[in-house]
Subunit: 437 residues, 2 copies
């Protein structure tokens, strides 16, 4: 009997079961010994964190990590979800803090609804955001201390799979791995969970934090799962994602249009069965076209062998998702979510509607022309067509829906406000990112 | 008449003189137009900053930038000297904050005494340190914003001449240029002064800060001047530097031993005449061996032509320096400086004295041996010889001068303190850098 076997026998059956639940479907786990010890310790509640930047909107791809987080909660772990609002801010410096605040609220509501719809206890589920501590004196001190101990090469390597690889990489890309490592300390967690693309950052944390006497955590890694409707489900590509709050018809249409080739079985549809459906349904069977499947491998084999029709496979998944998202949407049917969505994602669609070719540009009178010139001379970021329409609306005395875009230092903002309040005019500006500034 | 000539005529004689004083002896200046405009503006006091990391001790090489700062003060500028204590801390993470605090006090006293001894008005001279604001939320936010806009390559290039070039460069080296650029904003200055080795950092500041709407400053650059007794005067090489508070005989000996080759006229001795002596003495003449020199170029030529004796040249410089440093030492002859020096630089010289071969190691009794073992088991950083001597001193009931080195997190420090207070013992530790931790 090997030493490892002896050790195995030392832990209780319950601990082993709990650990198996925590580790199932993961691609890799570091520090399992430590985790096991914590699970064995009476009165200890092991604490894990998962982080996400609040850039786009939660899509159904989130169900894969959420299903894992459901396992953690089911296993009795304390789970903290970190919304990296500071990272989101830095990622797109055009996002205002007001907007990012609303997005954090939106993310929290949707993710909470997702987990509740997965029928797991959420009394040990906590949410926080990066700006709660990432600009604190102590955190900054630790970031600087880390930066004095981590080489440029190591920081670069750590972020290689996560940080956008552009022609001229930004310095922030080197800092992110350090920030993420330090989050473990400041969230007071015992371990971190993420995609296996985070592996090098996890390794950096395991190597560097102990040098600053900031502890070493265990790390759990999900495999990288292809998106349902594309090679990678991205919140920034409208066509490739299914929004968590999408209407049933949209969900059905997108899934039926998804790639699910028998030649490339590593597709999103099959992955979803593996990482979302089976963990939810087990130990019951999934029944499609009168065939019972108790395990993913059996279903996959049947599909690859042609014993399972593509349409049937997709339809079952679509109905499953629609049913699940129905519950999520019901939980999100409240003013908090509506307001957060409106404030956090108010698209420039309205501006596009206004500029549809059907509506001709209005004629301006002398007064309006003078105002137009005055306003134009004060700003370089101006859409002429929008202005003409706005002036028309103002001249018709209708209420005007406006967005004021604060740019630059207080003085110039104040100047602009004064100018516009004097003129009774505002302008609508289209951002390059198709999202409000 | 060109446009530039026209412009020249627009400024007053007084502004031109002031500007000439500010710009004399500099190697390069950026944004002189802006500076000139500020000098012309009634009621405006232009504000410049110069920064230094409080690592070693101010040596006579500091007289070169101080002489320039004297020009700035004479010209009526407001001058802020920034002590980069955070940089010093990160540069050598073994430095305790307590020690760095004392060093800042020491630097401030000595530099103030230097400038006073140069007979310039110091009512517009201010001192501050990096930790006053460099760990603030706003500053950190700006550092992160900058890091999201500056490429790794640009940060690397900016710091190339200033940041230590080691085999595996640290991430902190990429951050320093950003911090230094932001200092301009947080010190609310109009311009920055530094060695021409800072040029790329200054350029980074001029290019990047405006993108964050944080203003663009002018930059004044001193040439790189060789050290008096070596190719570069470094505070970390004992033999190559003359401490500002060195005794006259030490100063004389070091200067007489300095290289001053006619084949290599870019030496420290001649440079000192150019950048320190002449600016101080002018418009009077420097008289050596009955020869009058009103300008450095004339003196240099005489020396190169062999019309001026090397010994005479060095002796004059030595006496000049001794005379100047006499005044500085007199101003520093007080308890504040003494205490700051003791706390900030308590060298291990004492420990070396103790370990001189004349004094044999004491015999330990049984009790002392037990203590020794107990203490040794608790720490890996221990000098056996020192311990034996310390134990001897303790056993003789003499008061023991100690330095407690706090390392690691609070718990382990507390443990160590408890251990040592129980044992009535402390230890002296020799740092690798030949300076106390």
């Amino acid at each position: 009997m090997s030493a490892a076997d002896t050790k195995k026998e030392e832990i209780s059956e319950k601990t082993r079961e709990t650990r198996d639940l925590i580790l199932r479907n993961l691609q890799e786990s570091l520090g399992v010994d430590k985790l096991t010890k914590q699970l064995e310790t009476e009165g200890k509640v092991a604490h894990v964190y998962w982080g996400t930047a609040t850039t786009g909107k939660p899509h159904v791809g989130y169900l894969v990590p959420m299903r894992k987080i459901a396992d953690f909660l089911q296993a009795g772990l304390k789970v903290t979800i970190l919304f990296a609002d500071l990272h989101a801010y830095l990622d797109n410096m055009k996002s205002s803090w007001e907007l990012l605040k609303s997005r954090v609220v939106y993310y929290e509501c949707v993710i909470k609804a997702l987990l509740q719809s997965l029928d797991v206890p959420i009394d040990q589920l906590y949410f926080t955001k990066g700006t709660e501590y990432q600009l604190s004196r102590q955190y900054t001190d630790d970031v600087l201390r880390l930066s004095s101990q981590v080489s440029q090469r190591d920081a670069l390597k750590a972020g290689a799979e996560v940080v956008k690889q552009v022609e001229s990489p930004l310095l922030s890309g080197l800092l992110y791995p350090l920030l993420q490592a330090l989050d473990e300390q400041y969230l007071k967690v015992d371990g971190q969970f993420g995609g296996v693309d985070q592996r090098k950052i996890f390794i950096l944390a395991e190597e560097q934090l102990p040098k600053l006497k900031l502890g070493k955590r265990w790390h759990l890694m999900n495999p990288m799962v292809p998106g349902l409707t594309g090679s990678k489900m991205s919140s920034s590509e409208e066509d490739s994602k299914i929004d968590v709050l999408d209407e049933p018809e949209k969900v059905r249409a997108k899934i039926l249009g998804a790639a699910c080739s028998r030649d490339q079985p590593d597709n999103g549809v099959l992955a979803f069965y593996n990482f979302v459906l089976f963990p939810i349904v087990s130990p019951e069977a999934i029944v499609i076209s009168n065939q019972q499947f108790f395990e993913f491998s059996a279903l996959k084999q049947a599909y690859l062998d042609g014993k399972l029709d593509e349409n049937a496979l997709k339809t079952f998944l679509a109905e499953f998702l629609v049913n699940l998202l129905d519950k999520v949407r019901a939980r999100c049917d409240n003013d908090i979510v509506r307001e957060a969505k409106e404030k956090g994602y108010s698209k420039i669609v309205e501006s596009e509607d206004v500029s549809s070719p059907e509506k001709p540009l209005p004629q301006l009178n002398a007064d309006q022309k003078t105002w137009k010139e005055r306003i134009q001379s004060g700003t370089e970021v101006f859409h002429e067509k929008d202005l003409d329409r706005v002036l028309s609306t103002v001249s018709s005395s209708k209420p005007l829906h406006i967005m004021f875009v604060a740019q630059g230092k207080e003085n110039s903002i104040l100047d602009s406000l004064l100018l516009f309040s004097r003129s009774n005019l505002f302008w609508i500006q289209e951002s390059q990112s198709k999202e409000p500034f």
